[in-house]
């Protein structure tokens, strides 16, 4: 059986049985990166040498029969928004093009403790702002299923890396759908945990009240395992929740009896691509055939989601990105006339246009005289949206929807119309505003062969239920085994 394209579970058992060493495994993935990343451009930094050293160390300890972590010897690709000690962390921005963090993000520490192999840092939209991975200052990542199309974003590099078989696992971050949407576009599994489930320490902030780190994998079991490794309380993040982490990987294969799958009537709106809608309806049939009950619920404030998100996220971003001023670290202009000009020129040169657009939006929304009308009102509507979900989850276990209303866009399609791109976030944003866990699972392809994903959401801290529901679907369909050919 081939290494490339194997699931995490398969790789782990081959490693455990001694059929394969981590060095062989890591070498195979590094070779694969060498072969195909020229076309896909998923990686900003390939951590080859260190990854092989790490792999050799795991092999040595395995031979010595020393205890090993849950992901011992398995490569994980890391979105370049997560700080890695001694390894460049750029956020795909000129501003941080040469930034080498002096510390590891909490999730990186967790990966190291689990003996995972950090294979490289993946491309993304600049500072995670975008839905196509086109706003990266360095490169445009291509969708492995159709190189003329985007992999989605902002975690497009991580999604594409898994879809192209360059890593069995990857970490992404999700502020408004940045894991779930590219997972759908690339036909891989991507999960955003409950807000507070995973420590944000060491994740370069975009929208702090929305950001959450989560796994990509080529099957639900891999996602469950990676989610289990990175979850848990961390005293360095005040919003990290101190609640025990269930062993997701132990229960994920148990089907749920009496599963209630909800659909929201507000989700079937104009602008929903008919092929995507059909995919969802087919998925609902699958659940029905597995004994689930399909229930229609109402999320009356759905239509405000995009507006609320594009006030809250840019407001927080305008503040979070104020630290990139060229004074202490990061890009500083070489030509300036005074202190104010140094700030303006450094930031003007260091940030791309989408980042500037969102900083402007947020600065405006927080300004005196506008705060009440925009930011404060957005917070109020956010509460209403959360209440919608609370009510819905009294009647259902998971809510099913498309991951995004349309299949992946062509490269450059949204460059003249960012608003159209913002509207594509309609199905994913709610989970961030309400802090809910969500997962995107491959659900088929359009006639043109473009991947379509379905999204499942659950109540806060119901990741276990979410993963089991997703796994039921995955086992009942043939989409998991499908691999992009490059």
């Amino acid at each position: 059986m081939s290494i490339i394209g194997a699931t995490t579970g398969e790789l782990l058992s081959r490693l455990e049985r001694g059929e394969l060493t981590s060095v062989e495994l890591t070498t195979a993935y590094l070779d694969r990166i060498n072969q195909v990343d020229g076309k896909v451009a998923a990686f900003i930094t390939v951590n080859g040498e260190k990854a092989l050293r790490q792999a050799a160390d795991v092999d040595r300890r395995r031979q010595a029969k020393q205890p090993l972590g849950l992901l011992a010897g398995v490569p994980v690709a890391i979105k370049d928004v997560l700080c890695t000690k001694g390894l460049k962390t750029t956020c795909a921005s000129t501003m941080l093009a040469n930034f080498i963090p002096p510390y590891d993000a909490h999730v990186i520490t967790q990966l190291r403790n689990a003996d995972a192999i950090l294979i490289g840092k993946t491309n993304m939209d600049e500072f995670a702002m975008g839905s196509t991975t086109e706003t990266s200052a360095f490169q445009i990542t291509r969708n492995p299923w159709d190189l003329d199309r985007t992999p989605g974003g902002s975690s497009g590099g991580s999604a594409a890396a898994v879809a192209a078989g360059m890593s069995p696992l990857a970490l992404g971050t999700d502020t408004g759908g940045s894991i779930r949407q590219p997972a759908g576009f690339c036909s891989v599994v991507g999960m955003k945990p409950t807000y507070g489930r995973v420590s944000r320490f060491g994740m370069v902030a975009y929208g702090s009240s929305l950001d959450q780190i989560g796994p990509f994998a080529n099957d639900v079991n891999g996602a469950a395992l990676l989610a289990q490794v990175i979850s848990g309380h961390d005293g360095r993040d005040s919003t990290s929740v101190n609640a025990p982490v269930p062993a997701y990987s132990q229960t994920v294969n148990q089907p749920l009896a009496g599963l209630r799958v909800g659909i929201a009537k507000e989700h079937f709106v104009e602008g929903l691509n008919p092929e995507v809608e059909q995919t969802l309806r087919t998925a609902l049939h699958v659940y029905k055939s597995l004994g689930a009950e399909i229930k229609e619920v109402s999320l009356p404030h759905t239509s405000y989601g995009v507006a609320v998100y594009y006030l809250i996220a840019p407001s927080e971003a305008s503040s979070n990105l104020a630290r990139y001023d060229g004074v202490h670290y990061g890009h500083r202009a070489t030509q300036f006339s005074n202190m104010i000009d140094m700030y303006a020129t450094s930031r003007g040169e260091g940030f791309g246009s989408e980042v500037k657009r969102r900083i402007m939006l947020g600065t405006y929304a927080l300004s005196a005289g506008y705060y009440d009308a925009y930011y404060l009102k957005a917070l109020k509507v956010r509460r209403l949206i959360r209440q919608d979900y609370d009510k819905a989850f009294e009647q259902i276990d998971v809510l099913a929807s498309p991951a995004s209303p349309n299949p992946p866009s062509k490269v450059g399609e949204y460059s003249a119309n960012p608003l159209a791109m913002y509207l594509e976030d309609i199905y994913t944003i709610g989970a961030n505003l309400a802090g809910l866990p969500g997962i995107s699972v491959p659900a088929g392809f359009t006639e043109a062969g473009l991947p379509v994903g379905i999204q499942l959401l659950a109540a806060p801290f119901e990741e276990e239920k979410l993963l089991r529901a997703a796994r039921m679907y995955e086992l009942a369909t043939k989409w998991q085994g499908q691999r992009a050919t490059l």
């Binding site: 510390y103 944000r200 060491g202 902030a205 360095r236 005040s238 503040s319 104020a322 630290r323």
Partner: protein, 495 residues
Amino acid sequence: MDYTTIIGLEVHVQLQTNTKIFCGCSTKFNPDNPNVQTCPVCLGLPGSLPVMNRTAFDLAVKTAIAINCQIARFTKWDRKQYYYPDLPKGYQISQYDLPFSHDGWLEIVINKETGEKKKIGIIRAHLEEDAGKNTHDETGRGQDSQVDLNRAGTPLLEIVSHPDLRSAQEAKEYLEELKLLLTYLEVSDCNMQEGSLRCDANVNVHIHRDGQKIATPLVEIKNLNSFRNVELAIEFEADRQYRQWQQDGKTFGQVNKETRGYDAIRNITVAQRSKEEAADYRYFPDPDLVPVTVEEAYLQNVIDSMVEFPAARRTRFIQQYQLSNYDAAVIIDQGVVFANFVEHVAKICGDGKQACNWVTQDVLREMNDRKLTIEGFPVQPPVLGEILKRINDKKITIKSGREIFLNLLNSEDLSTISVARIDQIIQEQGLSIVADSGQLEAVIVAVLAKNAKAVADFKGGKQSAVGSLIGQAMKEMKGADPATVRELLLKKLAE
């Protein structure tokens, strides 16, 4: 010149925590080694997150209770956004619309003789993080400016008073009382040189004309780095505003609030670039920090563990030790260690009034002469108390007590100062008051026998002759009470 000065003070106090408010870095004052007390959090590195230091919050609550503030049951953190090189995140974590405390007061003594008091209202007290420190090249040669972030993230308590202060003197009293309270509570060392207490003053004047009250435009004076400068700056500024009004007639509301800095060398205030017009801090709740809720039991715990406040102690001293307002103030205003010293002495000697007198006169005088602190004073309460006790018990005279006190202070080896040493000195120098009248009588008889001429003089009507006889008897019996000696001597002479 008929006007009243109206003053409100904003005081920033660095709280005495070991670590910074949102990270584990040390808060030590360390200007000589810049940027060594820093970490990703206080450097504002990408991905770093703040975590509230509970001790800083506890100290802040303790202070707020001591200045009679209401403690909010729900409080949150906000970001105050502006660009400056000493502010690495581009925002300061502070508290905006829901400070943890509000609506309190501090009582100050406005007349030390009469003890007349006045309540100064406190609008709010909130917590925030301190910024770093910029050092600019001041040679004018265009050298680099430098930033030291050792101070960045030090917990700061901002206490904002109502404009209830009516003179520069009152402003100074308020600051002194506040400083005394903060040091009593051990929440801050209030060292103005090191910047642990900083003050801005909002000043204007109300001019009285034809039964009307005319208010001048508001001015905020910054850079006030000593209590004396606060006083001088306010005095200057009030007069300047009066003269300005005479010139242009501009009144409150017609001009924006102005920021002025105090130039201590020229003793004037100078207009500064005004932030008030341009600045929009775009405050919003910090999403990285969870709001803080305060439970009743927690508050009760803080209240129960509170020390006696200076004002209460002043009142108690007046009653318990029968002190004047002035004397009580002298003791309390010296600080908590000094007041504790007095009380410790009082407890041992059993006479509060006597303890107060000795400590405020003899101890304070020697402290000043010898440039000593009360903590470093060689004769500590256990010894001083025993000296006074011996005076009270009429074992030695007051004069002998002073001699022993000075003798101990002048000890070459300070470690020899002890209660045992007191008795040793009494013994060596025969300072013991001789209660045995038989022994004293024998001495007097001997003195009379030796001084037949003086006796004859006295008997011949020369009253003054008795003086030399007493002197001689005292010389023989060092510890004798002069009054007793005199009485006994006269009795013998009369025989």
